[in-house]
């Protein structure tokens, strides 16, 4: 078993173990970054979404060897409870999180979309989030959250 290095949330980390270990397991179990969640283990639900060199990937499908020498960003890179990022604040204001299990993955997909210059309109955001399943919200408040963050303003309480 060799050692490989990757940059996780701006920090160089070394992993000693099999190169085919799933990235999600390395993040959660070796690096104790448990913000990344496993929902299906087959790349369908998107709860494990992290950014690899800035692009969203399902970390349950990526062998850690594939991340060697590359940049990995997880939900822990965004903000802290005391100082939420603009996107996280959007989710708090617009009720974009209910049970919260899909939220880290949603945030990472939304973050990648906005950071890469993706459009801040309903259709573009829905497309960007279409690989992330949510069973609680019906998505509308999640889309509102992302749009609010992009536009830097709070959604009104009522849409009437």
């Amino acid at each position: 078993m060799g050692a490989l290095t990757l940059t996780v949330n701006g920090r160089r980390r070394t992993y000693r173990g099999a190169a085919f270990t799933r990235l999600i397991d390395v993040l959660r179990e070796d690096f104790r970054l448990t913000g990344t969640k496993e929902g299906c283990g087959e790349g369908e639900c998107g709860a494990c979404t992290v950014l690899l060199d800035g692009a969203p990937v399902n970390s349950c499908l990526i062998p850690v060897g594939q991340a060697a020498g590359r940049r990995v960003e997880t939900v822990e890179s965004l903000g802290s409870p005391e100082k939420l990022s603009k996107l996280q604040q959007g989710f708090l204001d617009c009720a974009g999180a209910q049970c919260g299990i899909c939220t880290p993955g949603m945030l990472m997909s939304a973050h990648a979309h906005l950071k890469s210059g993706g459009k801040a309109d309903d259709a573009s955001v829905r497309t960007a989030l279409s690989g992330n399943l949510c069973r609680c919200t019906g998505y509308q408040h999640i889309v509102d959250s992302v749009l609010a963050a992009a536009r830097g303003k709070k959604k009104k309480a009522s849409r009437k």
């Binding site: 990344t36 087959e42 369908e44 996280q88 309903d122 279409s130 399943l133 069973r135 609680c136 509308q140």
Partner: protein, 744 residues
Amino acid sequence: MRSVGKNVSRREGPEKLTGRAVYLDDLDIPGCWHGVTVRSSVPHGRIKAVKFDPAFPWSDYVVVTAADIPGRNVVTLIEPDQPLLAEGLVRHREEPIALIAHADRAKAYEALKHVTVEYEKLPSVLTIADALAVKEKIYKDDNVFKSFLIRKGDVDQALASADVVIEGEYRVPHQEQAYIENNAVAAWEEDGVLVVRGSLQCPFYVVKALKVLLGRDESKVRVSQTVTGGGFGGKEEYPSMIAGHAALLALKARRPVKIVYDRHEDMAATTKRHPAVVRHRTGLTRDGRLVAQDVDVVMDGGAYATLSAVVLSRGTLHAAGAYECPNVRVRSRVVATHTPPNGAFRGFGAPQTLFAAELHWEKIADVLGIDSLALKRKNLFKIGSITATGQVLRESVGAKSCLDVVVRRSKYAQRRKEYDRWNADPKKPSWKGIGVSVCHHGAGFTGSGEVYLASRAGVALTRAGALVVLAASTEIGQGTNTMFAQVASDTLGVPLDWLEVETPDTHKVPDSGPTVASRTCMVVGGLVRRAALDLKAAFESEHGRVPRTRAELKKAAAALCGAKPARRFEVQYEKPSEVTWNDATYQGDAYGVYSYAAFAVELEIDRATAETKVLRVTTAQDIGKAIHPLFAEGQIIGGCLQGLGWALLEEPVYNDGVMVNSQLTNYVIPTSLDAPPFDVTVVEKPYSRGPFGAKGVGELPMDVPAPAVAAAVKHATGRLIATIPLTPERITAALAADAEAARV
């Protein structure tokens, strides 16, 4: 009022948004092993042998079978018929037989390949029809777990004298809850107390089950909820099973053990919504007034009784729909089959029977030549209406208000004409349709259920000046923590951030009953309000007033608590005096109050592929009072999308008694691109017994989508398809059958 009715921030929001919220699998439990489950591979069979590969290093593992159970081998719920681990006989696929734990997760899973179970296969009953025909006896003589009969007036005579009698049969499938966090429980022993932590809805259910299973005093079992990634009923009863498994492994291994299901195991082995067949025979006057409803309901309970009797009860009590009819008969049964037990899922029997009751109006409309909306309007519940159980609806009946809002905001009449013109043009690539539904949903437990539960909740004041809400109701995403703090702080008249909400831990909070049945806000929230009123009175009498500053709160707390570390103000549920219910005759006030919803859906069906796209949803829901309007809207949109999924996409496929599409790859739930835009109106017809007028909201949104979708598909295609989901395959088959019939 300071916070009720306002969109304050989610209490645990910042932790959930930063990855700091600790779900079960995120817990760092030193020395914790991983548990896995050996499951049956036949739907019905006698276990001849469980063979452990002699070449495998079993000494590195802990193995548990039924022989290791210190108490009774039963998952205690309603009937003691379900074993925790099968002994001798298996009655469904995926039934737990043995348990294995190892320090390494991969090695634990590896061990499953080295266990072989040999069976003598027995004949199995896998469908409702075979169960009713008693192809094989599974449960008593008739395979019926439970039946109900509701009678109002004289149905036979009314049918005989009705202008028209219209019959219909409606079928709905299983549905998977599909919470994104799979079931997960951990257990260990600490100073003689068995500690269980888990992703679950009802911590006291688990205590009651473990007490019997382990033969332990309740004080030696402590269950607390971890942050839970969705429930929808799927974590109501099944966590008792997993907790039992984890407990047995932990006690034998003398170390913590956690069991975290993977998606396939969770979908294949755990409970689903009950499939149902519902038949209606309805008598009406020629101008569309109901004179008789004769309804027959059959549900598939699966191999063990679990919650089937209660699911059937709710289904039965909603089977006539939100309409007044002088003569009603509802006969219902839930049968046993050799399939994994079905259980709680948002709506709890009502979506099944309401689908039939609502869609049947489309059939009636065709026969009478009157628009279904006009028929619904003519018969809809209003103040003073008498339900099938003889309940007089005295207050808070928002059915008509909801329907009016939806008809107006969806431009129902205009869209109907517009789509009629569109559909008449053969050059168009699609058909379009609009459908409307209106439903009621009883809040709280059925009948006398709340009386038996005798739920308790409270507010504690600590000597240091902390105010803590004490309730066993779990936060599973719906906003319980935030709502309790809002109710308590406004009742006391203190700032919202003075209130803390205790973790549902059975050694810290009273038994508030389960987190189910749209009861958390209305029933338990009502208890929290009463407890807060008691504390307020104590402040006033012992301190002179409710404290206005933190410093004053500390002073008052010291005075009220005296030498004690805290004072608890706990109250117990008291039945409202006007509510009467007879369990023997199923007559009376089935629920204290009902919530109401109306729903319009517009959709477009591709003429070539029969793929359906939902264009728009307009809904109005009367929930009494929205304690938190944005969270209430979140419940409505989320619940409605689950309903749209059930209506259009979701179909557990069973083969030889087991779900074969037990993956998110082939069991399809709606994505952000499947979800339509929702126009939501919250209607507030206050309920005098609810906190600040609130009724239930959790389940109601699940009731309305399916019948509206089927009505819209009928508008689009001209074909009433009485079975969901309305997949392209099902629509194509129905239209092909029509074309075939037209040729003959």
